[in-house]
């Protein structure tokens, strides 16, 4: 007999992401992913000055502010056909890399580790054994007995006060929780340390962006960071060295803690490696440009189809027609007026809500497609594309994680193991390690370029008469983000943002092809239908970001999420 489980977080005023799964004989047989909120950025931007678009788009989503700002200025610059100065590229790149480090660290420790880590079990851990285990895995100086004893004492005190506070909503004692108490305690210790290091990474964004969230240093044509090495009010040597120090601290945490924890979790949950594969078409865009025009990049982008790495095709520039001409969105199963699959420049956004109907329309999210196919985006897509193209840092860090997890699990792990729920987590860590390295490289490039006497930060430009079109992409922490703009006589005539969670959380299309969340959930085991931890594991592994718009505190403590079994 099959059962329908609905997970419907009633966050804030409207819900955001609703997942329905049909469970049969202890496993997911079918799944539906539904965005429960309409975002009308296109309607808000029409008729405005394209120079202001980035200010508005970075308010689409409170957590992804930086990434929308970057994609937006790139889209307008692409439409205008202008190149930004090298300093502007490098300053943007350091912001991108630091923001990514912050975001990936938070995702693993604060937002998803508790799907795998049982906090209550950590109370049974021997802190000295925990320290011994940690010291056998990593040279990280903060794995000492002293540190582990202090964390255990803190956790014990917290629980004895009769409330778990931040940990109150976990599925503690769930049969799918498998880590030994010592590993759980180690994870809690690193959860606390991660709070410090994500903040350190984000300080770099604040130093260059003058504020985060919502950076203020961008402009269509460059950046607003005046460079004068001797002036205390501008970007100077003092600030640059502070940035370097912060990046080095974040890099050490990623390489000595985050990656090691990932390998350990993957090894101890090796039984989970077969689950969560779903859509194995992958899309990533290149990022961290090394030249003014955006034709040489430090992070690779491209496509892979059917999980076959030999099908890799590279995306080579900010203006590559292979990306520009192959993206479309389908509204066949979404709550919009019409029934089409169109290129973003040709889209309209006319909401038309009908009831939730899993056999008809059931989401506010459109279904993006590349050459008509659903694509998985995110760190895994970039790592696989990089691996297939032989990108040296990606290959080196990916092999290290696979070898470490493999030796702990006493199994040989190949990149094929990455097509999975755990693989998405591993890829995020691999990407963070690569980013940490590249952030410091781009810092060095910036210092060298300024050292040559180049202080240019802005390219002047003018709007042409008539219509121009542009697109700008950015490989954001959650994956490929693209903004598409049509400008008529200097005014926005159309604007579409195709965001990573649209690619991953989108519904079926006109041909009935499932989106990546939906496909990734099929086959997942469900030990307890009342507590569908396994569904959360797979959904969280994509790093969902749909709840982008409304922010209302619910002080009466009304139910904020519910699990319904039908």
């Amino acid at each position: 007999m099959s059962k329908r489980i609905v997970i419907d977080p009633i966050t804030r005023i409207e819900g955001h992401l609703r997942i329905d799964v049909e469970v049969d004989q202890g496993a997911v047989r079918d799944a539906w992913s539904s965005g429960q909120m309409w975002r009308g950025i296109e309607t808000i931007l029409k008729g405005r000055d394209p120079r202001d678009a980035w200010l508005f788009t970075q308010r689409i989503c409170g957590v992804c502010t930086t990434v929308h700002a970057i994609a937006s200025v790139r889209a307008v610059e692409n439409a205008l056909g202008i190149e930004v100065p090298l300093n502007a590229q490098l300053i943007r790149n350091i912001i991108i890399a630091a923001h990514c480090l912050h975001d990936h660290i938070v995702h693993f420790y604060q937002l998803s580790a508790l799907d795998w880590v049982d906090v209550v079990s950590a109370l049974k851990a021997d802190p000295d054994k925990t320290a011994a285990l940690a010291e056998s895995l990593s040279a990280w100086p903060r794995n000492s007995k002293h540190e582990m004893r202090a964390v255990k004492a803190k956790l014990t005190e917290f629980v004895e006060r009769g409330q778990l506070g931040i940990f109150a909503n976990g599925y503690w004692g769930h049969p799918a929780m498998k880590l030994p108490p010592e590993v759980n305690l180690l994870a809690v210790a690193h959860y606390l340390q991660a709070l410090e290091y994500q903040k350190i990474a984000n300080q770099v964004v604040a130093l260059l962006g003058s504020k985060t969230p919502n950076i203020q240093n961008l402009a269509v044509g460059g950046v607003a960071n005046a460079i004068n090495l001797d002036n205390p009010a501008t970007l100077n040597m003092d600030k640059l060295y502070k940035i370097k120090g912060l990046l080095e601290q974040a890099a050490a945490f990623v390489q000595q803690v985050y990656l090691v924890d990932l390998a350990a979790v993957a090894a101890m949950y090796a039984d989970w490696l077969p689950y969560g594969k779903g859509v194995t078409n992958y899309l990533a865009v290149p990022d961290l440009p090394l030249d003014r025009a955006g034709t040489v990049f430090d992070l690779p982008g491209g496509t892979i189809f059917d999980g076959n790495l030999t099908t890799v095709r590279e995306i080579r520039s900010f203006d590559d027609p292979y990306f520009r001409d192959n993206v479309s969105e389908s509204i066949a199963r979404a709550w919009y007026d019409g029934d089409w699959e169109r290129h973003p420049w040709e889209e309209d956004t006319v909401p038309r809500y009908t009831d939730y109907d899993p056999d008809g329309r059931y989401s506010w999210v459109k279904a993006p497609r590349f050459q008509g196919k659903p694509m998985q985006v995110g760190p895994l897509a970039q790592v696989l594309v990089g691996y297939a193209l032989g990108h040296e840092p990606i290959k080196r860090w990916a092999d290290l994680v696979l070898d470490t997890a493999g030796s702990l699990a006493k199994a040989k792990l190949s990149p094929a193991a990455l097509h999975s729920t755990l693989g998405r987590h591993a890829a995020r860590g691999i990407r963070a390690a690569v980013m940490a390295e590249l952030a410091l490289k781009h810092w060095q490039l910036l210092v060298e370029n300024i050292g040559k006497g180049d202080t240019a930060i802005f390219t002047p430009w003018e709007y042409p008469k008539g219509e121009i079109r542009g697109f700008g992409f950015h490989e954001a922490p959650r994956g490929t983000l693209s903004h598409w703009i049509v400008i008529r006589d200097g005014v926005i005539a159309n604007y579409q943002a195709v965001v990573p969670s649209t690619w991953n959380a989108g519904p079926r299309d006109g041909k009935g092809q499932k989106g990546p969340y939906e496909a990734g959930l099929v086959g997942n085991p469900i030990a307890d239908a009342e507590r569908p931890l396994e569904v959360l594991r797979t959904v969280h592994s994509f790093d969902p970001c749909l709840a982008c718009a409304i922010h209302t505190v619910d002080p009466e403590g009304k139910e904020l999420a519910r699990v319904r079994t039908l």
């Binding site: 977080p9 966050t11 955001h16 992401l17 309409w38 009308g40 950025i41 008729g47 000055d49 394209p50 202001d52 508005f56 308010r59 689409i60 989503c61 409170g62 957590v63 938070v106 995702h107 604060q110 937002l111 803190k154 506070g165 931040i166 909503n169 709070l195 903040k199 984000n202 300080q203 962006g209 003058s210 504020k211 985060t212 969230p213 919502n214 802005f458 002047p460 430009w461 003018e462 709007y463 200097g490 959360l536 959904v539 790093d543 969902p544 749909l546 709840a547 718009a549 409304i550 922010h551 209302t552 505190v553 619910d554 002080p555 009466e556 403590g557 139910e559 904020l560 999420a561 519910r562």
Partner: protein, 193 residues
């Protein structure tokens, strides 16, 4: 389009933080940012007080409040009361609210941030939430009439709380432009500076 730049300074000097939360693109959800920008424009306040429009920061709220002794938050609240109703909440009332299942980074809001800081052993001792019941949070920038009317009261409530905390607060001799850029009508094109 000017935002408060002092918030980018190192946090060492900051002891009292005023933060406006909410999405400025979504009608009354922009209440918090609106009120905080009015506050910045009207009052002169010392270096150890920060006032920041933070949008919907999720856990990015942490660095703005973790070293503060007191925090005043302006936000919308979900209550069964008429639109424009203002309510004041204390830290313990917020922490007592039961939490549900979290899906995405955005669901980590004010309460989860406070809980996380509590577990890590830090965070502000004193938290006041000045909340308004929104009339409409449809995707269109700008406040409804009821929220706009409540904004003046909220501004006074923020000032009153700060004075109670011993913050010297003076009207600026020349009030600044609050810079509510999201309420500006679409103006059309131009050229790069």
């Amino acid at each position: 389009m000017n935002e408060e730049s002092r918030s980018g300074d190192p946090p060492a000097h900051r002891r009292v933080a005023v933060v406006g939360l909410g999405n400025v693109l979504m009608g009354d959800d922009g209440f918090g940012p609106f009120v905080v920008r009015q506050f910045q424009a009207r009052y002169d306040y010392p270096e150890w007080v920060s006032a920041t429009d933070l949008g919907t920061p999720g856990l990015d709220l942490v660095p703005f409040i973790d070293d503060a002794t007191a925090v005043i938050v302006v936000d919308t609240v979900k209550l069964d009361e008429p639109p424009g109703t203002l309510r004041l909440y204390q830290r313990d009332q917020l922490l007592a609210a039961p939490r549900g299942q979290r899906f995405s980074p955005h669901d980590a809001g004010l309460v989860e941030t406070l809980q996380m800081l509590e577990f890590s052993g830090g965070g502000p001792r004193e938290v006041q939430l000045v909340g308004v019941v929104p009339e409409s949070c449809a995707p269109r920038p700008g406040l409804s009439a009821s929220a706009r009317a409540a904004a003046e009261l909220a501004l006074e409530a923020v000032a009153e709380q700060l004075r109670r905390l011993g913050v010297p607060l003076n009207d600026r001799s020349q009030p600044r432009d609050p810079g509510i850029w999201w309420e500006q009508p679409a103006a059309g094109g131009g050229r790069g500076r």
